[in-house]
């Protein structure tokens, strides 16, 4: 397939190299490199303030990284240097979609409208950039119907088809999370970035989310990048985990590897550095 696959033996959709992000004097991310495999779920975990959301913001174009390179490869071999794209182009051209830690739905619009806004670019083309839509030529009506069908398809997938006409802000918290995922899917992404999708969900909802993500991955051959605190979700569905602490990568591997990495345990339990070394030595012996 692509040359990247030939070299590493794996097909990486996303390659982050030497990513550094500074805010004034604060170094939020320091020389971070990792890769995400196509069609797999990669999780980004770490204690609060480790810089996970900052990584997301760099990938999705909201921040311009101070240094480093973020490469996205489509299946047809087209590559995008994400750090060079304007924020909206990340979604529009590179087809990276995201959700937000604090839900950002268009609360005053209906769920269906939310999902149509996500198909903005397709619909704009269909309406000949508004000109055709106003004057009534072209087949905008058909395109809109198609968009509605696509939106309803995703609402069914997340189990909210009957709430299509309700204001998004009226939905309960858990449902809003799922609408946000459906909305992100309506942009037809190749990489879906989810920022703490399980935050605030109860265990049952959390389990449903697991199933949803797994099924999306299978059916759409979608790659998912995930920030999550809920270890049940992370360990249950991730194919690959990257652990951050204080803006640096401290571990990288399969759930099994990461779970047993003493540096990760130390970071999560807040062990002193010397103790980490002690733990590491113990394990080495």
């Amino acid at each position: 397939m692509s040359s990247a696959e030939a070299v590493s033996g794996r097909d990486h959709i996303l390659t982050v190299e030497h990513l550094t992000m500074r805010f004034g004097g604060l170094v939020a991310i320091n020389d971070l490199s990792f890769e995400a495999e196509r069609g797999k779920i990669t999780a980004l975990i770490g204690p609060n303030g480790a810089g996970k959301t900052t990584v997301f913001n760099c990938i999705t174009g909201f921040y311009k990284p101070s240094e480093g390179m973020i490469t996205l490869r489509h299946e047809d071999g087209t590559t995008f240097l994400l750090e060079r794209l304007a924020d909206y182009e990340t979604a529009a051209r590179a087809r990276v979609s995201r959700t937000f830690q604090n839900i950002r739905l268009f609360a005053g619009m209906t769920v269906l409208e939310n999902l149509l806004v996500a198909q903005h670019r397709t619909l704009m083309r269909a309406s000949y950039y508004t000109v055709g839509g106003i004057l009534g030529f072209g087949n905008y009506a058909a395109a809109e119907q198609e968009a509605v069908d696509f939106a309803l398809h995703w609402l069914e997938r997340v189990g909210l088809a009957e709430r299509a006409d309700d204001a998004a802000g009226d939905l309960p918290y858990g449902d809003q999370r799922r609408v946000e995922i459906a909305r992100a899917m309506c942009t037809r992404p190749v990489l879906l970035c989810l920022d703490e999708p399980a935050a605030g969900l109860n265990p049952r909802e959390s389990a449903e989310l697991n199933e949803l993500l797994m099924s999306i991955r299978e059916s759409e051959r979608l790659s998912i990048l995930l920030i999550e605190h809920d270890m049940g979700v992370v360990m249950g569905i991730s194919d690959h985990i990257v652990v951050l602490d204080y803006g640096e990568k401290i571990s990288d591997g399969t759930p099994e590897e990461v779970r047993n990495d003493p540096a990760v345990i130390a970071a999560y339990l807040g062990v002193e550095d010397e103790e980490v070394e002690a733990v590491e030595q113990e394990i080495a012996q």
Partner: protein
């Protein structure tokens, strides 16, 4: 709303008995009256009068007393007629509003067409004379301006305090094109719209990255800059003297004159009347306003309109969905400006004379007030607000012109405090698989830019 008003005034409603409430009301009204007296001193009680030896004071204590009594009585009446009644009806009143809010469908189904029908036959109603015709034209001009600004403020959530600039661009475009190139109204109308839209893009491009109040203040500044330039560029705009002799619109080449070859009256063989021209102007502005309305309604159902509303709700989310927000904002700005330009062009032809004085910040403020008072994004609300604020002001206060703006300002404050979301506070969904529901105002965003 009733409960909050009450607790604001009297503390907890249950704890206060009727009698105590009355005493309380008297006490508070006395305080309000006293404060009114304090405030009227010395601005109202001592008038400065220019005499030969300089300024002297002319005491008018009675005015202060009147102000105090009026405020006392007003406060007391307000208490008994509005606040205290809501105590009794507290459980009912909010439900009534909610009921209206939840089911605006039957309301808007007949109110819109009814108003439209009335507007269409209006010039032929028996009581209509020249003065009322003139007023109707004025009201419709503001309806159109309100609808135009509504695209920018109500839909896209961009706070524009300099809308009058585009009104001015439209008016001056027509006036100058007519003066220098001898072009007529119908040729200039689209040109004025295009020029205004062009200015919208030109001004919008640098400022649209600003957020919220910063955008407001920069648009205000631009409005003032355009006015000051019009005022001082004497060789081009004739400065404060303005431009006069702006041509009147013709009816397919027929003119509204008493004598001449191609007159409207002559062609149709009817007796000449000055009212014809007013009726014609009325229908022009009605058509322009309806065009604005139609385009807005169409746009709301197109992706660009949904993108505007999404932008108002959450700009960051829009960016994450691949929407180019700069272009989206610029389109809103340009289309809003275009309608402002049309209205300006119409204003110029109606007046026959324009000067920078007509395009002050107060105009922008009035148009914005109409949009917000009407309920942002609501077409009917804006029309009603324009009718109440402009028509009401002109009808009730024609005799007391100097009190008109005072009452206008007070009404702005009162309506906003009464209904912070405007007269129509709900938003109607643009598309639905089932029933198109109305969305409560508390959910709808107000924009950040």
């Amino acid at each position: 709303m009733a409960e909050t008003t009450l607790s604001r005034v009297n503390g907890t409603p249950e704890a206060v008995s009727g009698e105590r409430r009355t005493t309380q009301a008297f006490k508070e009204s006395l305080i309000a009256g006293g404060l009114a007296f304090l405030l009227s001193f010395p601005l109202l009680t001592h008038r400065t009068v220019q005499q030969a030896e300089g300024l002297v004071l002319e005491p008018r204590w009675l005015w202060g007393v009147i102000a105090a009594v009026v405020v006392f009585a007003g406060r007391l009446l307000l208490h008994f007629l509005v606040w205290d009644r809501q105590v009794v009806r507290a459980p009912v009143a909010p439900r009534l509003w909610q009921g209206l809010a939840a089911k605006p469908a039957p309301l808007s189904v007949w109110v819109g067409p009814l108003l439209l029908g009335l507007a269409l036959i209006f010039p032929f109603l028996p009581f209509v004379d020249r003065r009322i015709m003139d007023l109707a034209i004025l009201v419709l001009t503001y309806v159109m301006l309100g609808w135009g600004l509504n695209i920018v403020v109500g839909l896209a959530g961009l706070l524009d305090l300099g809308y009058v600039a585009f009104y001015a661009v439209g008016a001056y475009s027509f006036a100058l094109l007519a003066q220098y190139f001898d072009l007529g109204f119908w040729v200039c109308l689209p040109l004025a719209g295009i020029l205004a839209a062009f200015w919208g893009i030109l001004l919008g491009f640098p400022v649209l990255r600003l957020r919220g109040d910063y955008l407001a203040i920069v648009t205000l500044a631009f409005g003032e800059i355009i006015r000051v330039v019009l005022l001082n560029w004497y060789s081009f705009t004739n400065g404060p003297d303005g431009i006069s002799g702006i041509p009147k619109p013709s009816f397919f080449g027929l003119e509204f004159k008493r004598f001449g070859d191609n007159t409207f009256a002559g062609f149709f063989g009817i007796e000449y009347s000055t009212l014809h021209r007013f009726i014609y102007l009325y229908y022009i502005i009605l058509a322009l306003a309806l065009l604005t309305n139609y385009v807005t309604i169409r746009l709301r159902r197109l992706p660009i309109g949904r993108a505007w509303e999404a932008l108002r709700e959450d700009e960051v989310a829009c960016r994450s969905l691949g929407i180019n927000i700069t272009n989206t904002k610029l389109t809103a700005f340009a289309i809003g400006a275009m309608f402002g330009g049309f209205a300006g062009s119409f204003f110029a032809t109606r007046q026959g004379f324009i000067s920078p004085e007509s395009f002050t910040f107060l105009e922008s403020a009035i148009i914005l007030a109409i949009v917000v008072l009407g309920g942002m994004g609501s077409q009917i609300g804006v029309a009603v607000a324009a009718f109440v604020m402009i028509g009401g002001g002109e009808l009730l206060f024609r005799e007391f012109a100097q009190y008109r703006m005072l009452v206008f300002g007070l009404a702005m404050v009162a309506i906003m405090v009464w209904r912070p979301r405007g007269l129509v506070g709900t938003r109607k969904a643009t598309i639905a698989v089932g029933e198109r529901k109305a969305i409560g105002g508390d959910l709808v965003g107000e924009g950040h830019g």
